[in-house]
Amino acid sequence: MTFIGKDLKVVGTRPIRPDGVDKVTGRANFGADMTMPGMIWGKIKRSPHAHARIKRIYTEKALSLPGVKAVVTAADFPDIAAEEAFAGEAIMDFRDLSRNCMARGKVLYDGHAVAAVAATSPAIAEAALDLIEIEYEVLPFVIDVEAAMAEDAPLLHDTLFTQGVEPKPSRPSNIAKRINFTKGDVEAGFREADHIIERRYTGKPVHQGYIEPHACVAAVAADGQCMIWSSSQGHFMVRQYCAHLLGIDISNIRAMPAEIGGGFGGKTLVYLEPVALALARKSGRPVKIVMTREEVFRASGPAAGSVVEVKLGAKKDGRLTAGEVVLKYQAGAFPGSPVGPGCMCAFAMYDLPNASVTGYDVVCNRPKVAAYRAPGAPNASWGVESCLDELAIELGIDPLSLREKNAARDGTKAVHGPTWQNIGYAETLAAVRAHPHWTAPLGPGQGRGIASGFWFNIGGESSAAVHIAEDGTAAVATGNPDIGGSRASIAMMVAEVLGIPVERVRAIVADTASIGYTFLTGGSRVTFATGMAATEAAERVVEELKKRAAMMWEISPEAVEWRDGMAYPAGPNAGAFEPLSLGEIAFRSARTGGPISAELSINAQGAGPGFGTHICDVEVDRETGAVKILRYTAIQDVGRAIHPAYVEGQLQGGVTQGIGWALNEEYIYDGEGRLDNPGFLDYRIPVASDLPMIDTVLVEVPNPRHPFGARGVGEVPIVPPTAAVANAIYRAAGVRLRDLPMSPPHVLAALDKSDG
């Protein structure tokens, strides 16, 4: 059943979220907030080298320290064979995941886990780390992507041969994969062009920067039953990965979802949980491990750094004839950068007759990248959206018109093949044109830029259960950790279907033993896919309620209508009965067949793609290179905003991360291959005083595959900001920045260069 176009009472309003009071009073329990009887503390010994062979690990001294209960190294984990599985945003190899959690044979980056201890206090565990001695043979290392691609680069993996190249290369290299998408005749397209532009854009790895460090508690009972409490984007993922990495039956692990303090893709895989389990198994005690902020930066996944080469050809009137992009993405220590999606996103916004996109997935001595909001897309769009702006300037066309002229619409064939349908990109451009921000006057030293962004969004496996209580209130359980208010949107959809106020629906996140399998919270899928499961479960409950009413009235269920939380006889022929409320039906449910509930597990398809366009005003201090964001408007097709405040919040948060990516965030390595800024002091995420209010416009082009028309919204907003800011800087100061971050020293150097 679809609710699109219907008059809705709950969806589209802004109720208070069900978990809100716990979160403003400090009662909500996050990863590190759990304690268990007899619990001890784990800590991880990490590599100080960017690349080294582990010759020997001496754990005896640590083990003899009073209070130390267990020490583990790679020897305590099965040495599993290469086995690929789809995970997070890319194909992932469990062998790599295992070796990322605990180095085996070699350490591949500064911060790589080598051993772990569990002790009766954090201080003892810390002291024990110092007593673990490791003999290393230090190896040459490589940090940057193009250096890693060089013929003579130090090799991370002797067994890595570039995939996607035929014939198979005879020598291993750091290039894990080459991928290409081609549409039309690229050479002919460039021949047809009146104007060709070719530029190169670079970016450093940036971290997701969730404020909650990774944390977990694991316990193993004598019969092998395991419990894991952790903060992750998917406790089913935690269960599956831990089972795999430690050789445990999935049913022997119960994973409990803690509240999660931000993830943005960075908590779609495991770091601590298998180690805590191994320590718990060895010590016989529950073990808690909490990362320090420094560990988060050194050892958990950032987003890929990249080099992006863009070539565009266009007619004088701005019509694009051809495009060519080369993406070189850093995967970190193991293969698996999001270069594949990057390739598909590069030209996704445009109707380009001829195009070629080539991507390289490159390993280097940095932490393995993890998904980060629209993984792969921001890097590609940083290049393409900047280059389009440069093209607009060279052609003397305004950048909005250039985009309007080339925008993908329903029926446009994407470079990666499929024909778009039900997309709202052009609508976002129209909204830009109509927005007062677009024509607002600017002062001296100020400039305005625009840029667009795209993300696929996904569906996937989701389970939801709706239970009706004896008094007619309801509970809805799902298997997705609530990272940004999804309990609210799920409860709202259920309330809408049941026809009751949202305050009468309690939404909870159930553990892995209490609800059907649910894929992780990521890819902007929860409101879409899990919302779909919850909606359908609620619809089944309504069917059941109608049946129960029919039984009470002794009429046929088809003769019962459900409106506003009440059963009504459907028309005069059904009989003259007083309507029955949900509460009245629930109260008598024992007599009509037992408790009323429905659980549904689906694999949701048809996630509608998301497009957005942003307008950014900046002011540049020509003497210091400082860039101030004066005004920012994010416009996005959201399908249908279930809880508009949290949709706006997704846009505002994504924009702010994008602004951080644009201006100041970067991984800085020293000459020894060690991360030089592993803390919030020098890894500079935006603070409140850096920003203006972030205005949003929610364009609603409904997604026909979702009962309420919802699309995923969380990923798109991080895509446009880097280019929007660069394009604004150009108009404010006349200099084109092509390397991220556009921090004051870089901007000033560019200004100095342009002043000659």
């Binding site: 690929e84 194909i91 198979k168 893709g265 024909t419 569906g459 890819g523 398809q605 969380g714």
Partner: protein
């Protein structure tokens, strides 16, 4: 008979470079089985690593995804997210 295009070049090692096929199939499952019959190993590769776009709509891990005779069918890399 649906025209099927494998987007990108990641399965060249199975198909020897061929990317476009006419495949008699009414579902994704049938399509995978048929392609695997022609190029042994390709089926697993598609199931693990690829999504199917049928007339512009993306399906992931969906054997039953329906294919019509005139459908536009693309096999593209699977999508995740952050």
């Amino acid at each position: 008979m649906p025209h099927v295009v494998i987007s990108g070049d990641m399965v060249r090692r199975f198909t020897g470079g061929e990317r476009e096929f006419e495949v008699e199939a009414t579902t994704f499952r049938r399509l995978v089985l048929e392609l695997d019959r022609r190029f042994p190993g390709l089926g697993h590769q598609i199931e693990e690593g690829m999504a199917i776009a049928i007339d512009g709509e993306i399906f992931q891990d969906a054997y039953a995804a329906p294919i019509r005779p005139d459908s536009e069918v693309y096999l593209i890399p699977k999508i995740g997210g952050g």
